[in-house]
Subunit: 304 residues, 3 copies
């Protein structure tokens, strides 16, 4: 197995398959009364988060604890030594010198996990770097689709929203096309990169045009802070064109699978009735995320 | 046993008895060198705190760890996904999907723990909801009284201070009257609800009038932020009428037991000489709080 | 063994030796796959930090976890009960009542750990108190020197920077002179106490004058916040007179050992080429810090 998980496009189909297979067995662990295995006993996992993210951090923290690892949280907030001007490299080397075995890193700069992996012997897991990649999110999306629809190959998956700034979109495009799915990206024209077709995806301006062909819809999170940039339409317009409500669902395939990386903005990307309805796999994604992160931590430790 | 601990008034006398009995045995664990039992090994307890509370959170965290559970802290501060507009329900469902076994929740809205309990399969423990209830506080108060005075039935307990806004008062009134104690509430008239007598308690304006009859005094914490509301008298006046100092203690029964939910404001509700004196059980309350929380986590897990 | 570690000057040479010897064995544990020993299983260690310090806190947290202790973090920030006006003594007594076995305390007031040790039965470890002491830092510095140069006795150690406000300097002076090293302190005249020679050290204004005689240089961290005080020269002047770069290194002994308590300000106390060069033991200090803290927690527990 590889030592670091920096991006999806470094993974071969068989490596993706291995992670999904391992995740399936860890998902079973999560259904037991004693949700704990000794796999990483005595190992140390550090969550190094330079951007706030309660959900992803807790998912990784719980994954590590269920593998019996010790976990330390190193958050780049006003109280940390990062605020004393410590460089990223010094932080990395300090964690290395403490004998940390795996570092889960979230950073606002694309490429930060790659740089980190060059400074340390620990395994590095990218938990989101700028607009680059968020590989465990793509892996949990894939796992959820496969468990619900029994395959990836041949499916048509619509990625809806702010494609340009989304690391989730980028990681999903790589993972889905690698495994043989067709990907359609769809969002406001200002938020779909003009050259995205080069990644082998179809581009659509209007969700309603492509909706009937999709087996899966992945509704990207609206980042309200982008609105100030002038690139984003009004929430009202977004909801009208890209929000999924009961009426729009009638145009979709009856068994269309709905995914959304949380936390969702209820009433914007998706209405509550649809988010909580029978087509939604949003909570399965959370469960699968924990299992995927256990699988990644476990598999990477074999290479370390 | 019940599955959730949302309020004291849901508990029968025998259920209260069971928690107190279990807490007694866990208190013994706290005196050992190895203060740990395997009861909740492999279970996950989440502290979900929407209001700051270091003491209560640490008490629950330590209780869970001494039961060998894994603990995650999900604090509703500026860095959490709660600040991204995530709804309470989405947070609840996310924790559920992660397989959390128990959620300890503090919230500024009365009834929030009840709503939470309807969304999740996990056990829900109310760690304080608005001005409604704080059941583990009442249980630890009861345990402390019983261990010191050998009974509850027939005792006279004075609750002193801001009765109207106190979840501690409300939970104590339920617990004490259920177990056969007489309760006298005493505080500034603006802070004693006019209809409180309906709960079966006696109401007094002046502490000195009722002090000689009390076997126990529970001195509620002065919330300085209430002062701005105009309902609260000056600190000087409060101290004069309701603060317990050495002089006032002379009017009380020689063995009167003094309780106070921490952190106390030394020199306001109680002077240091009294708080640290022989009648004070304030630190026993802390020790018993840990034992009560271990008992609650342990007993609820049997119903889950 | 002693029960509390409040300052270096309470330690005899043989007690220092015991800690260093124990630390050596724990450093070996840090090289194993399973970096965990059962020494403190079922014990509770509390990190009580009234000043922010990610590195020191994480080092103690990881040390405690590798000894199998349960760890709780009690940080004196805006969200803690400390902000509700709780006194230091009440916090101490609360931790005592919870059965905490060891308290690691950082505080802006010199002497705070001593006061704490009088209120609790738990072992107290000073993790830095004002400008007074930071004993585990001195122990890890000593351990690093001894492991690199095989002795302390007879060495000449230069402490460079803001001597007046440095607890690291004070603890190092005590430790080094106790073990027979010669200490030279060197810094801006406004930041070197006029009476420091009483501690048995040589005082130098100019680093270049004493550099050729030093076997070890310990470069204290520039606290930028001091600059506002008017006592500190400009960064440019500091760098010119006291910063260690490649040119200045040519005047030093070829095998001079470079230490610096992190996080360093690259380009101020030391240039990157020197900090990352062959004479630097900065990362060994981090590794040794973890081992020293494991040793201290372990040894103090024997007295408790």
């Amino acid at each position: 197995m590889i030592k670091h998980l920096l991006s999806i496009d470094q993974l071969s189909p068989s490596q993706i398959e291995l992670v999904l297979h391992t995740a399936d067995s860890f998902r079973e662990v999560g259904t037991r009364t004693i949700k704990k295995v000794p796999t990483l006993r005595g190992r140390t996992v550090c969550n190094l988060f330079f951007e706030p993210s309660t959900r992803t951090r807790i998912s990784f923290e719980l994954a590590a604890k269920r593998l019996s690892a010790d976990v330390i949280n190193f958050t780049g907030d006003a109280r940390s030594s990062l605020s004393k001007g410590e460089s990223f490299k010094d932080t990395a080397q300090t964690l290395q010198a403490m004998g940390v075995d795996a570092i889960v890193v979230r950073h606002s700069s694309a490429g930060a996990p790659l740089r980190l992996s060059r400074w340390v012997e620990a395994s590095v897991i990218n938990a989101g770097d700028g607009a680059h990649e968020h590989p465990t999110q793509a892996l949990l999306d894939i796992l959820t689709i496969r468990n619900k629809l029994n395959r990836i190959d041949g499916l048509t998956v619509g990625l809806v929203g702010d494609i340009a700034h989304s690391r989730v979109a980028r990681s999903n495009i790589h993972a889905l096309t690698t495994l043989g799915a067709k990907v359609i990206v769809c969002g406001p024209t200002t938020l779909v990169p003009s050259d995205v077709a080069r990644l082998g995806v179809e581009v659509a301006d209007r969700l309603d045009d492509v909706l009937p062909r999709c087996d899966v819809l992945n509704l990207l999170r609206v980042q309200f802070e982008r609105q100030r940039s002038g690139l984003f339409p009004s929430i009202r317009e977004y909801r009208l064109l890209f929000g999924v409500d009961g009426d729009r669902m009638k145009k979709a395939k009856p068994n269309v699978l709905l995914l959304a990386p949380g936390p969702i903005n209820r009433g914007v990307e998706v209405t509550p009735e649809v988010a909580d309805g029978p087509n939604s796999a949003i909570l399965d994604q959370v469960t699968n995320g924990l299992a995927v992160r256990m699988a990644v931590l476990s598999e990477l430790s074999k290479a370390a």
